[in-house]
Symmetry: C3
Subunit: 351 residues, 3 copies
Amino acid sequence: MKLRELAEHLQCRLEGDGDLTIERVAGIEHAGPGDLTFIANPKYQGFLESTLASAVLVTPGPTRSEGGPALLVCERPYLAFAQALGLLVHASLPAPGIDSSSVVASDAELGDAVSIGANAVIGSRTRIGARSVVFPGAVIGPGAVIGSDCVIHARVSIRERVQLGNRVVVQDGAVIGSDGFGFVKQADGTHLKIPQHAAVVIEDDVEIGANTTIDRPAVGETRVRAGTKIDNLVQIAHGVTIGERVLFAAQVGIAGSTVVEDDVVLAGQVGVAGHLRIGKGVVATAQTGVPNSVDPGVMISGYPDIPNRDWLKSSAVFRNLPALKKRVVELEQRIAELEEKLAACRPPSET
Amino acid sequence: MKLRELAEHLQCRLEGDGDLTIERVAGIEHAGPGDLTFIANPKYQGFLESTLASAVLVTPGPTRSEGGPALLVCERPYLAFAQALGLLVHASLPAPGIDSSSVVASDAELGDAVSIGANAVIGSRTRIGARSVVFPGAVIGPGAVIGSDCVIHARVSIRERVQLGNRVVVQDGAVIGSDGFGFVKQADGTHLKIPQHAAVVIEDDVEIGANTTIDRPAVGETRVRAGTKIDNLVQIAHGVTIGERVLFAAQVGIAGSTVVEDDVVLAGQVGVAGHLRIGKGVVATAQTGVPNSVDPGVMISGYPDIPNRDWLKSSAVFRNLPALKKRVVELEQRIAELEEKLAACRPPSET
Amino acid sequence: MKLRELAEHLQCRLEGDGDLTIERVAGIEHAGPGDLTFIANPKYQGFLESTLASAVLVTPGPTRSEGGPALLVCERPYLAFAQALGLLVHASLPAPGIDSSSVVASDAELGDAVSIGANAVIGSRTRIGARSVVFPGAVIGPGAVIGSDCVIHARVSIRERVQLGNRVVVQDGAVIGSDGFGFVKQADGTHLKIPQHAAVVIEDDVEIGANTTIDRPAVGETRVRAGTKIDNLVQIAHGVTIGERVLFAAQVGIAGSTVVEDDVVLAGQVGVAGHLRIGKGVVATAQTGVPNSVDPGVMISGYPDIPNRDWLKSSAVFRNLPALKKRVVELEQRIAELEEKLAACRPPSET
């Protein structure tokens, strides 16, 4: 694609030769001739001199150096970079059609231009919307509903009666609708399984990572609202509700019946206990453990979680705890000496 | 089902109209006419006034209000609720039979009324007991033994020679019998794989969560004893022994050769180091890290784990560590001032 | 195998009857007649008296007791034990051949003596090297390259264009090449997916655990270098580079674009943030959280990580924080008393 054309698509101001051909996108350190790259973080500004890229997406500010790469100037270079990837890199989704090795129930309803991969299994009474792709080895349980333009990668399990909206992407090996971990202790100490047969709903534009698990509850529903993105190896327990536009990094775990409100961001390996409410826009840093509900808009860290600012300060003291303890011991000695000296010091009444 | 009939099944005392028809079960906040719900936690008592449910399972105490829902009174409403779910919700296990797309070794022994799903693979010399169900895409390795009334969900791997007891449930994508993580460092710094070909035994009534992994050891065995329930994304390393009626919440990890005794409860994301013994009835709160063996009956938290009560107190101080440090700094200043003053104060012998 | 023959293979000095037949290997506590076992850790030395094993691998030192087991003396008994397992235990890899139920693209290139299991799916333009084994239900995406002597266990996903070297072992359910978790926030708060179509390279002699996930980046590559061993349920994010001979225990998570240098060892549940460099030979104990780059050779613990020695000391103080706080409160009281007494004490100038 000509750089001029790309600039128009991305709505960027072009500084340099619009006739350059851009063939690929690349990171700033690895980019070469024919590549478009970007600088979103000022600390990478120095690479502008050394990069071999043909063009660089930048924020307003830097001026183009003679012989340097062409510049595409815009307010949000990273966003433009993501858009450029969409223009220049073409995903290789399988062609529509039903592979002869797949097993599709006779009463399944498949929309226009659906693609069903090799050895996929499509259960009875399922419905799959137009242009959705089911990769090889995926298993769609009876009565499951998948919207339009979904991508179900290889070896995903969509269990019975699970509902997916439109444009949902599920990475390989994820499981949606497995039995919630619900047992009740009986008088003899054994655990009676509580049947878990209620609803799981994944709304539009959700992405679910590889080998992530989302459980179904006994009653009510487990729900992930529109536009939420979930990374790999995440656990969403039964009866959980996740709001819109939420981001969960890898290995996050949410225990049963908790409500996570819109726009929450949980970094990697965060754990949230059950029956809580995590307020809109909460941000938790990696490995945070959340035993209680959290007010909207707070940034938290640590276990039990505390405000991030406090946690940073407490952590700084933690690493010097032995020194702090030593100072207390020294204080005790100095006070004991003072007490001894003062005892020897005549009170005024005695003079 | 008539409420009267349900009350008999659940051995509850009925207050209200026994002719009511109960069609579903539901949580107290979502229940409507025709629903049975429950109150196990006194803090939900207030919902008794507002619920639209036809009947509520309660402990002895509350009296039925005029026009309110019928009451089913019993000592353990949550247990009765679980039992009611079993009566009113009917799981849709696949019908017995062998799907023509499955690949079943000619020398596999299948019991009466076994169900083998589409594209499942049943290896050579396997034995599968009566009424067990293998869902689509599951792979049962050569020589594996599965008892009666087991449910092996879609895309589970049961590796070669693994043994499962009766009534074992394995959720989608779980792996039982993968190679233990055993390597030995050689003189040149590379890691030599220790072949991992020994036994894995899962006893009766165990449940294993989605995408959980249970490794096989080089020698000896990995064993999960009867009645233990394991949630999603849990890691059980090679040579581990898990006792009876143990509960592991999601994302727990147990390192190699550790013994977990009966009735232990580990909350989410707990990690236990290798070669330890976790005593009977130990409870660990979420994210606890256990580097040493734990005596029976203790409740632990933190990393390294300490008694939960101590951890709660230490955590409360942790969040105020900067203030504590400030107090120490102030003390140092005050003592320095005292020391100065006292130095100026004539000792008695000088007067 | 005769013990004499085994001693020669393992290059050990034999004390005892070389005509003994060794049939199995076993742990010291479970070994019986016909078994070879080992003592690598001095704390198990006591078992030398009680074991029923026919022979024991030991370091130089202990002398054989009359009627006790034969000894195989060498510098590294655990290494010899691993080698003995390779000699005595024979893995049951499937025979070469292509199962008729598998789906192999007509343009896939399969090397000599490759084994393709039941219901495996081999995509278009894939290349699989000589003697590699693909177990049942595995899905190899279009254009993927697998070297020689690899073992791809059941239900693994190797995504499109992923490259594996030689002798790579991938345990069941692992996913290599899933989309990286890359999104950019748009003006309306929604997250735009950054297409993730770049390279994933797994070099020679790497082992990847069950249900582990390794993501593909938008640009550049994700790479795991030769000889690295990764346990179960590990997350390797997009654009990460893992060095040679690295060991990751189960449930470790590495965020995007981080570089882990050679010979690093991360214990279970360790988390590492993105865009960092973890220096050669770093060791992190279990559950460590790493928010910043780490210099080579350091042993770290805690979150945020600090040197292990400091962490051990700080953790020891942590568990007694309430006592420390009490000491500070007592100091404050004693100082207040001293200040009061000293105020009453006449200054020298007044006398």
